[in-house]
């Protein structure tokens, strides 16, 4: 019987319905012995009946939606200005939100490309920020790593490390190419739950000193260099001059956590390794990072059998979930940005609700007519929702275009420290989110007018041509808008102050007029013994560049540098080395360094050219002097640094520089003299760093430097930067935040001001008759204007106060992004409120003026 089931009932056609009713009429006529007309009358209004029958079957909302859409379209065409302003305001909010979502998606939401990534953690000892002050540095010493962490202790199921997650390495055969290589432990991929797609993974045998060199190549390298040939396994490539056998291919989309790599090589630790390792572990299920932290504390604190831990700083154990490791405190920034854009979106919605309410007032007559013609209140309410949803969807489409444009600007301006920001794009995920957001916005702004339709009775519609006044609602909305705007304004004021303070921090070196150049010669063409002399020739060349007042060559330069922790230092010929656990920056420099960067020598003397062939010498920064020679005068003492073999005399103390940016404590610096017969630091690396202080324009100096190197070797790639730009990059995050939040706040202010303007205008229009009477009775025009301004001022004050309260709570969220300014900074707050007051009062000037110029005769006639 019930074969048709419940959900798939066949809908009878219109013809069937007609026939069924006709059959009824015929049977009734026959049975009662009357004519068909009488029988038909008995059935009532047949059209109506058939419509009711049809309505039973039609998925009603679908049909109604089509009607509403059609109707909405017609009403837009009649009043394009209204539709356009709604769409524009919403598109602004949706565009900003969409762009922001796609920017932070990878930071906050998108799943990581590793197997069971929730259990992966970065662990080790917390080192103070060195290269990247904005990221935590959780590291392990390579020397005692196997002793402490192998096999994987509780609470891990596996533990792996990378010694270097991305250093340049050159393919030195036909088609030479510069790639990024990562040195990893043999169980690296296994721990991350990733498998090679071709060939085999690294094996423990590959990961011992002296094993034949092997490499796993990335998917892009496989495609680019080997045409995706599965026969690549067993072939060799010359990597940094070593014939290296390819053993496997990485899956597409794999990224070494926290780095970039085209090639994985075994790291081949040795017991005397001074490197620092980044360690990752897979936690046993059910173990939280906090529990793991407690568990590894004893492993870290245990005395080492193999190394001397003198003066070891108390390192805290740290276990960081992988996502947090990858994005660092950027997630906080990301939430902040989402919050800000959410505020903007909310303001846009409130603005639109206001516009719609204004429009509803005008449309009362229309609703009255529709109601009189039999449209139910529910139907009218639905129309209101449909209208706003359609408007929002149109806005969403435009918003996507805006988002595409905004994202490009955004990516270009975003600080490079935001991970994977360059990957942000508008893909399917973003489209879906944008769609959902538009839908939600449409419903949110439609609900108010829909409710107000539902509340009314049909009778009220026709009572008067002018609207039942609802300025209270509209003022409340404007007030809410003002309040949200205050929160954004206060945030942006605080961030601008922060930026101001940051830029004002003296870095300890003079960055203006300095141009820097990094030279990394190809190791195949420049063997270790050729490199040194070549660097010397480059230095001589750039010294002769027109306008150069000082030039230097070094192994690193501010604001960057190689920081090493766990380095061995011996003092005054005592052979027992001191394993200094705090990171120290070690730079090989030529004598021009201090002059080029404008770093004063506080005591002792600077390096001189003559010493480059004589006795080794070093200069310490103030903090380095305190660490190595606590309570003593370091001058004249000798130091053996970093496993070198030459004892160097401390000849001077240099002023501390803020080498990791304005917000960080300066890291200790040890400057060693770059000697002609070889550099101790440069021996580790194949790069040299040059800097000139120029009297010429920096852009000219850039060109000159390029030319100077090209004269020596036209094929040698160099990276040239202007130091001022590099220094600006240190503050790029607060700069970016301040810029973005100010833009949001500006937009919000604009929206709030237009909202207030619209309501004030409405108020004046509505009271025109009233005002006319009062003027006719002798009130001064000025009084009228004052009334309007007083009324608006009251709402501004309420909104401002509410906003201050809101901002008081929300600015806590940005406290961590502030620098030397309290969240309650009176200057910022006063500035924010002043800007708000001025902008909003400006918005009511025109309506107020209109109120003052109401012509009583016209006003009294107008409302007949």
């Amino acid at each position: 019987m019930g074969m048709k089931g419940r959900w798939f009932r066949r809908r009878p056609s219109d013809d069937e319905m007609r026939e069924e009713l006709e059959a009824h009429v015929a049977m009734r006529a026959e049975h009662d012995g009357v004519d068909e007309a009488a029988a038909r009358r008995r059935l009532g209004n047949i059209l109506h009946t058939r419509e009711s029958m049809r309505r039973v079957w039609i998925a009603q909302w679908c049909d109604a939606l089509r009607q509403d859409a059609h109707y909405t379209w017609r009403s837009w065409r009649r009043r394009p200005a209204f539709a356009m302003s709604v769409v524009l305001v919403l598109a602004l909010g949706l565009g900003a939100s969409t762009a922001m979502f796609s920017a932070v998606d990878r930071i906050l939401f998108r799943p990581l490309p590793y197997g069971d990534a929730d259990r992966l953690v970065n662990f080790g000892m917390a080192f103070p920020g060195v290269e990247r002050p904005d990221q935590s540095h959780v590291l392990l010493h390579a020397g005692d790593y196997p002793e402490r962490w192998k096999p994987a202790p509780e609470p891990f199921t596996a533990v792996t490390t990378t010694a270097d997650a991305g250093h340049t390495c050159d393919v030195t055969e036909q088609q030479p190419e510069r790639l990024l290589c990562a040195d990893v432990e043999s169980n690296f991929l296994q721990t991350f739950g990733v498998r090679v797609v071709v060939g085999r993974d690294l094996a423990p045998e590959d990961d011992v000193r002296g094993a034949p060199p092997v490499a796993i190549i990335s998917d892009p390298v496989w495609r680019r260099r080997f045409g995706a040939d599965p026969g690549v396994i067993g072939r060799t490539i010359d990597l940094n001059g070593k014939r290296t056998r390819v053993i496997g291919v990485l899956p597409a989309g794999f990224a070494v956590p926290g780095g970039k790599a085209d090639i994985l090589e075994p790291q081949q630790l040795s017991p005397s390794d001074g490197r620092l390792l980044v360690a990752f572990g897979r936690l046993k299920s059910g173990v939280t990072p906090e529990q793991a932290e407690a568990a590894i504390a004893s492993i870290i604190d245990a005395p080492s059998k193999s190394t001397n831990n003198l003066r070891s700083a108390p390192y805290r154990p740290r276990v960081v979930p992988l996502r947090q490791y990858l994005v660092g405190d950027t997630s906080r920034l990301a939430w902040l940005l989402l919050g800000a854009v959410g505020g903007l979106m909310l303001i846009a919605c409130v603005n639109v609700v206001n516009l719609i309410l204004a429009r509803m007032a005008v449309r009362n007559r229309e609703f009255a007519v529709r109601s009189a013609l039999g449209a139910g209140r529910a139907r009218l309410a639905r129309l209101a929702i449909t209208e706003s949803v359609l408007l929002a969807l149109a806005a969403g489409a435009i918003g996507l275009l805006l988002a595409a444009a905004a994202l490009r600007v955004f990516v270009r301006l975003a600080p490079s420290s935001i991970p994977e920001i360059d990957q942000a794009s508008l893909d399917m995920r973003v489209f879906i989110v944008a769609g959902v957001l538009a839908l939600a916005a449409g419903i949110a702004v439609g609900i108010w007018p829909a409710l107000s339709v539902l509340r009314r009775r049909a009778l009220h519609y026709g009572s008067r041509a002018t609207a039942p006044a609802r300025p209270r609602t509209r003022f409340t909305l404007v007030t809410a808008q003002i309040a949200l705007t205050v929160a954004l304004l206060a945030g942006s004021a605080l961030l601008l102050r922060t930026l101001w303070n940051l830029v004002a921090v003296p870095l300890g070196y003079q960055s203006e007029r300095v141009v820097t150049m990094t030279v990394i010669p190809n190791v195949a063409r420049y063997a270790a013994d050729v490199r040194g002399p070549f660097f010397e020739r480059v230095l001589e060349h750039i010294r002769e560049i027109h306008g150069t007042s000082a030039a230097t060559m070094s192994s690193a330069a501010p604001p960057n540098g190689v920081a090493l922790a766990g380095m061995n230092f011996a003092i005054d010929h005592q052979r027992a080395p001191l394993a200094l656990r705090s990171p120290i920056r070690l730079r090989d420099v030529t004598p021009g360094y201090f002059q080029t960067f404008g770093i004063p020598i506080l005591r002792g003397r600077a390096f001189v050219e003559a010493h480059r062939t004589g006795q080794p010498a070093i200069i310490l920064s103030e903090s380095a002097a305190k660490i190595l020679f606590p309570g003593q005068d370091p001058l004249g003492h000798t130091v053996l640094a970093g496993g070198g073999k030459d004892w160097a005399e401390v000849v001077g103390i240099a002023r501390e520089i803020r080498n990791t940016g304005p917000t960080e404590e300066p890291a200790p610096e040890i400057y060693t003299l770059w000697r002609r017969n070889g550099s101790s630091v440069a021996a580790f690396s194949n790069m040299a760093f040059f800097a000139v202080r120029t009297q010429a324009r920096t852009s000219d100096a850039v060109a000159f430097l390029k030319q100077a190197v090209a004269d020596l070797d036209p094929q040698l790639p160099v990276t040239i930067r202007i130091l001022d730009d590099e220094v600006a990059r240190l503050t790029e995050r607060p700069r970016f935040l301040a810029w973005l939040l100010s833009a949001f706040a500006g937009l919000a202010l604009l929206l709030a001001a237009t909202g207030l303007y619209a309501v004030a205008s409405y108020l004046v229009t509505q009271r025109t008759r009233d005002l006319g009477v009062r003027i006719a009775l002798g009130a001064a025009p000025g009084d009228m204007a004052r009334d309007v301004i007083t009324e608006a001022g009251r709402w501004i004050a309420v909104g401002g106060a509410g906003g201050a309260l809101l901002a008081w709570m929300t600015t806590r969220a940005i406290e961590s992004q502030l620098f030397e300014v309290a969240a309650a900074d009176p200057v910022s707050w006063a500035a924010a409120l002043a800007v708000l007051g001025v902008a909003l009062l400006a918005a009511v000037v025109q309506p107020a003026a209109r109120a003052a110029h109401v012509n009583p005769i016209v006003a009294l006639q107008a409302d007949e």
């Binding site: 019987m1 048709k4 419940r6 069937e16 069924e20 059959a23 009824h24 008995r42 059935l43 029958m53």
Partner: protein, 107 residues
């Protein structure tokens, strides 16, 4: 059910009528009038929407057949779901009717 839904009375009558066997709309209207000794007169304008509503809900099935006097008619028959539904409405309806009767008696 019955108390809340003004259409429930009509639905009850339709479903009850169909327990006697499949019937078309007019037949159902006629049966209701006759069975109630013309006390109840079916509002024919709402009969057909109600039939279609029951059809859509799966309580009755519809089929075109030819009647004894050669007329094409849409004939409805009760489904299993429909019988269950009928039982529910009948129960709640009797309860209501009983309640109303008592109140009237004592009022």
């Amino acid at each position: 059910m019955a108390q809340e839904n003004p259409q429930a009375a009509l639905e009850l009558l339709i479903l009850k009528t169909l327990t006697a066997g499949p019937n078309h709309g007019f037949g159902i209207a006629l049966h209701i009038e006759e069975a109630s000794s013309a006390l109840l007169r079916v509002e024919e304008g709402s009969l057909y929407p109600a039939l279609h509503r029951l059809d859509k809900a799966g309580f009755i099935d519809a089929e075109w057949t030819v009647t004894e006097n050669g007329r094409r008619a849409r004939v409805y028959r009760l489904t299993k779901d429909g019988r269950k539904r009928l039982k529910e409405i009948e129960e709640s309806w009797t309860t209501l009717a009983e309640g109303v009767k008592r109140v009237l008696r004592w009022a």
